[in-house]
């Protein structure tokens, strides 16, 4: 066997094993209960009047996956609910809709903390057409 063929086999094995390890560990370690958010004070960037942190955006992603994706879709393109990408609304308006609902969308102020709603607003802002 030539050294190049041996290298090719090793390369394919390394690629497959590394992906299998990642996806296998993720399948085992991904928590079933996603609502375990503990807010932190670590503002990194200020955007649209909100303190942006990686934690808040990623928490927003988790809450979007749990509460919003069924109606608004994977990319915010709209399924049963409207398309929410590039909405021409302020953060305060989006926050108000999430908090109080907009029929038929339910209100979330009793389900989510203020920080979770901030995270959702930040995550929704990342959705693009």
């Amino acid at each position: 066997m030539s050294i190049e063929l041996k290298g090719l086999i090793n390369g394919v094995i390394a690629a497959v094993v590394s992906l299998a390890l990642v996806f296998g560990l993720a399948a085992v370690l991904k928590p079933k209960e996603t609502n375990s958010f503990s807010p932190k004070q670590n503002p990194a960037v200020s955007r649209n009047g909100l303190q942006v942190t990686t934690t808040l955006v990623l928490q927003g992603h988790q809450d979007y996956a749990q509460y919003c994706v069924k109606c608004h879709g994977d990319q915010g393109e709209g399924v049963m609910g409207p398309d929410i990408r590039n909405e021409d609304m302020t953060d305060a308006q989006i926050t108000a809709i999430i908090e109080n609902g907009q029929r038929p969308m339910p209100a979330f102020k009793d389900k989510l903390t203020a920080d979770q709603i901030k995270g959702l607003v930040l995550f929704v802002r990342t959705l693009k057409k």
Binding site: A15, F23, N42, Q62, L127
Partner: protein, 140 residues
């Protein structure tokens, strides 16, 4: 431990594979054209690739920890992952190939290597772009 420790570690480690795979590709391209400096340039490319691959392992695992082991997700995170996984697999694959073959690659197989290295560089760059969009993009 500071709860944002892994966020900071991801933010730091993620730049190593992005920069080093690009540097490795550049050194290899230069080695291809400047034959009188081939050995030195290929050595630089090899070590950049090796360090980049190690950085990629750190970046991937800290990323998985901060997203609660999410491998795809939604929105910008989904696009980030669309490019991260091919880039990660390619980087591990070409690093293993390079470690095995060393300097004994024929010109033909070296061209194939450069092709896959170019794809890994582009995927890594796009993964970085969407990671930045997730945290810093204004979304409008």
């Amino acid at each position: 431990m500071d709860p944002s420790f892994f966020e900071k570690l991801h933010g730091g480690s993620t730049h190593f594979p992005i920069a080093l795979i690009a540097a490795s590709f550049l050194f290899d391209l230069l080695a291809y054209y400047f034959k009188n400096k081939t050995l030195e340039l290929r050595a630089a490319a090899f070590y950049c690739l090796l360090l980049g691959a190690l950085g990629a392992i750190g970046a991937v695992f800290t990323g998985l920890i901060i997203t609660n082991w999410e491998t795809f997700g939604h929105g910008a995170l989904l696009f980030h992952h669309y490019f991260v996984w091919p880039a990660f697999a390619l980087m591990m694959g070409i690093a293993a190939w390079r470690i095995t073959v060393g300097d004994k690659a024929s010109p033909n197989s070296y061209q194939f290597y450069l092709f896959f290295c170019a794809i890994a560089t582009v995927c890594m760059g796009l993964a970085g772009y969407w990671g930045g969009e997730l945290i810093l993009g204004n979304g409008s």
